[in-house]
């Protein structure tokens, strides 16, 4: 199962669409340059292709839980993790103060795409660790940072997020885990957490759990939840590992996909209480978790796109190889490679165009994240923060919903062989499924998009983005991309109608707005993806004529953009009708008739 990191495509998205050179000039990123990023991408590609991709299939055999509460990671994973640590990759976007390289989110995202394509299950270990690093770095005391961050940034220790409990999934107000002060500044944490990704494993010396729990006097609801560090092994004064803490993995879930990633049921305090340390102030745990949510959600959007990319590569390989049936309309009865059949081409182009648009949008969002955190002009930072806030639910929701469709298409390209596990493409389809569920289901992101991200700000960012897309449509028309321009302009107008509808209904008739929230999220994904593909087409056309231009690359880029314009953008009109006119039928049927 070969993976070829699409370095040229990634470089195009980074340099041309997300304006990497401008990101490198932000304060604090002076060490970053296009040349350096090129070198990083090349080496990341080698690592993803040579170390992570070859163990993806065996990862599907899953991690093993043992009755002594230990977990053996899937075959080859521990060795790959040690190589990953040895090569320094955990530090790519970890803070420079604690041994990381402090690279921009944009650069980290590019490498993360390769890890996710090569081996989604593996990629979750560093993703969760970095999420924990970010939360600790932003909110924990200097003492806690000094103890935990260096080893987490180096990957010697991994990190987890312990949020979910059986009764507290999307609604974290229901968290019941408890933390009781011991008197020496530490706490005794008890309770059960479920769905804990990489909650227990044998790849690293220690696992640092970030746990949401309630203090004895905490108010009810979301304002009474605090965040604690609960290490698997307590850490001695000198930094060495001490006693085993009272936290254990009581089982692993049996899942549809990502079998290589152990999903743990964690039990805290069975022996009287796991020692934990409060992060920041009491009762602010949920707010703290949200500060790192943007990056994590962007990361999951990248996961969806990355799995689709891998599935695309597999489907292309098969379509070139598989000979079946004469070419449509050909008098020659001899069979041809199925890549010559129009419907197979349509499927491959659908995956390809979707992936390129999603990658572009994810990169633009990551660049905005970097500008939001580093731009020296406050108003620029603020407008970029609004942009990030608006794009995150779209990148997360749209990329992952599409991943379900696109990996399914990749299975379809294989025909019956796709349904056979040995072929390998089925794993991508199964692995992709979770991405639209964890870090907030698409429904949660739909609500976030219409509420906090659209209605609360009077649709300002939505309209600004649509205005940008419209400007691009104008440039496309002027550059001779007539059909793309017309389709983009129509899609922008349809999306604008939906924004109006949400602004009109959200306050007085929120059920109507909510009924169309996911179609709205999808159509915004398609429109904004179209905006990026339009920009890509303009750039490709200009660069194509330059001396020594990579004509193959730009020819493919222009064909893919055209396909996007003719096959994706027209979907917006249908979705918009569903948003604006379709809420009634969502709500009409009495509940008991379901």
């Amino acid at each position: 199962m070969i993976y070829n990191a699409p370095v040229k495509e990634i470089r195009f998205a980074l340099n041309e669409l997300a304006e990497l050179p401008a990101i490198c000039s932000l304060p604090g990123y002076e060490d970053c340059s296009v040349d350096l990023v090129d070198a990083i991408l090349e080496e990341a590609a080698k690592f993803a292709e040579g170390v992570l991709a070859p163990i993806n299939k065996q990862g599907d055999q899953g991690a093993k839980w043992h009755s002594d509460f230990s977990v053996s990671s899937a075959p080859g994973f521990k060795d790959a993790w040690l190589q990953y640590v040895e090569a320094g990759w955990p530090g790519l976007r970890a803070p420079a103060d604690f041994g990381g390289q402090g690279m921009p989110a944009l650069v980290a995202l590019a490498a993360e795409e390769m890890w996710c394509s090569a081996n989604l299950s593996f990629s979750l270990a560093p993703l969760l660790t970095l999420g924990a690093v970010e939360a600790i770095n932003h909110h924990a005391s200097e003492e806690l940072k000094a103890v935990y961050l260096p080893k987490m940034s180096s990957g010697e220790w991994t990190g987890t997020m312990n949020l979910t409990e059986p009764q507290a999934g999307s609604d974290l107000a229901q968290v019941r885990s408890k933390a009781v002060p011991v008197g020496d500044g530490s706490y005794k944490v008890s309770g059960q957490k479920i769905f804990i990704t990489w909650g227990e494993h044998d790849m690293a010396d220690n696992i640092v759990h970030l746990v949401l729990a309630r203090l004895p006097d905490a108010p009810a609801g979301v304002k009474g939840i605090s965040l604690f560090i609960v290490p698997k092994f307590l850490v001695n004064e000198d930094g060495s590992l001490g006693a085993r803490n009272d936290v254990r993995c009581v089982s692993l879930e049996h899942k549809l996909g990502i079998h290589g990633s152990p999903t743990a049921v964690m039990s805290f305090g069975d022996e009287g209480g796991a020692i934990g340390y409060l992060v920041g102030e009491a009762n602010k745990g949920l707010a703290y978790m949200f500060t790192m949510m943007n990056h994590a959600r962007l990361g999951v959007g990248v996961e969806g796109m990355a799995v689709s990319e891998r599935a695309y590569q597999k489907a292309v390989e098969y379509a070139r190889d598989r000979v079946q049936s004469r070419a449509v309309g050909s008098p020659d009865a001899s069979g041809v490679a199925i890549i010559q059949h129009p419907d197979v081409r349509r499927m491959l182009m659908t995956i390809r165009a979707g992936v390129e648009a999603q990658r572009a949008l994810a990169c633009v969002a990551a660049a905005a994240l970097d500008r939001a955190s580093r731009h020296p002009v406050a108003s620029e930072a603020a407008s970029n923060q609004a942009l990030v806030n608006f794009l995150i639910p779209i990148v997360k929701g749209w990329n992952t919903e599409e991943a379900n469709i696109l990996t399914s298409l990749a299975v379809q390209v294989h025909g019956g062989m796709g349904f056979i596990e040995e072929t390998g493409v089925a794993q991508y389809y199964r692995d992709a499924r979770i991405t639209a569920i964890y870090e907030g289901t698409t429904g949660i992101h739909g609500l976030d998009l219409i509420g906090r991200k659209t209605f609360s700000e009077g649709g300002a960012t939505a309209r600004a983005l649509l205005e940008e897309a419209k400007l691009t449509a104008g440039k496309l028309a002027a550059a001779g991309f007539a059909s793309f321009a017309a389709n983009l302009e129509a899609a922008v107008a349809d999306a604008g109608r939906c924004v109006d509808f949400i602004l009109e209904t959200f306050k007085e008739q929120p059920q109507l707005a909510a009924a169309g929230s996911v179609p709205f999220l999808k159509l915004m994904g398609i429109v904004l993806g179209g905006w990026q593909m339009g920009r890509a087409a303009l750039i490709a056309k200009e660069k194509q004529g330059e001396d020594g231009a990579d004509t193959d690359f730009y020819t493919a880029k222009l064909a893919t953009c055209r396909f996007y314009g003719e096959h994706y953008l027209p979907q917006v009109s249908g979705l918009a009708t569903a948003v604006v006119d379709g809420a009634g039928s969502v709500l009409e049927m009495p509940e008991h008739l379901f």
């Binding site: 070198a39 090349e42 080496e43 080698k46 040895e86 320094g88 990579d550 193959d552």
Partner: protein, 249 residues
């Protein structure tokens, strides 16, 4: 002990190359370029010698277009200490490269020079041998093991009959074979550090070497496609055809 390593920028081994339509060469425009895999092994070996305390400084040299800098940066990220680029747009043939290496060796005075046994683009397998001859140094080619001492180096060579170990007086030229080592994955902090390591540039003219090609490429063409085979009914027919048609019996 100073070690000089020569690296060549070649089309990546994963790229399927095509002959140019006009037959003047191989079309490598916009193809992915990488360090010659045998040269990667050479850099790795030098880095291991340094890690073992046997080498004190690793100087890596490349020759060719400006983009060879990227190849040199990769070598620096692997662990070389500094780099030299002999920049030229000219076509470089093995003899010219060997002459340039001789001049560099004269300036740098290394005790050991390590190169790949051949480059995967032209597969010439000449540069190391020519450089050794021009310098008057001993040579150990196709190395699968290098054991460095203060005054000598034992080189185990992969030869047709098996393995041959030769003891060479230093300074010496060693060319690497595939089994010598497995090059490491570059570490992220070292990619960053490589940016700050010194990279000097010179030219063939500065070194006083005439690199004019001695050989002229007449034509580059792709091998003929294999034609379909035929099925034979039995062994007798096979033998008959081998005798009468293939004329190999």
């Amino acid at each position: 002990m100073k070690v000089l390593v020569a690296v060549k920028r070649v089309v990546d081994y994963n790229v399927k190359v095509r002959a140019k339509a006009d037959g003047t060469g191989v079309d490598i425009a916009n193809a992915k370029m990488s360090m010659n895999p045998f040269d990667e092994i050479a850099v790795e070996e030098a880095v291991r010698l340094k890690e073992a305390g046997k080498a004190s400084e690793i100087v890596v040299v490349s020759m060719g277009v400006k983009q060879c800098e990227e190849t040199l940066r990769t070598a620096l990220a692997m662990g070389a200490d500094r780099a030299i680029l002999v920049e030229t747009e000219a076509e470089l043939q093995p003899l010219a490269v060997a002459k340039l290496l001789k001049e560099i060796a004269a300036k740098e005075a290394p005790q050991l020079m390590i190169l790949g046994k051949q480059a995967i683009d032209d597969d010439a397998n000449q540069t190391g041998q020519m450089a050794a001859a021009l310098l008057g140094w001993s040579q150990g080619t196709f190395a699968s093991k290098v054991d460095l001492a203060a005054e000598t180096v034992n080189v185990t060579r992969e030869i047709d009959g098996g393995l041959e170990t030769v003891k060479l007086a230093l300074p010496a030229v060693v060319t690497t074979d595939l089994r010598l080592n497995e090059p490491r994955y570059v570490k992220l902090p070292n990619i960053m550090a490589a940016k700050k390591k010194p990279l000097d540039k010179t030219t063939p003219a500065d070194l006083g070497v005439d690199v004019t090609p001695r050989l002229t490429t007449l034509k580059v063409a792709e091998p003929a496609k294999r034609s379909a085979g035929i099925k034979v009914a039995n062994a007798a027919e096979l033998v008959a055809k081998l005798k009468t048609e293939a004329k190999v019996l």
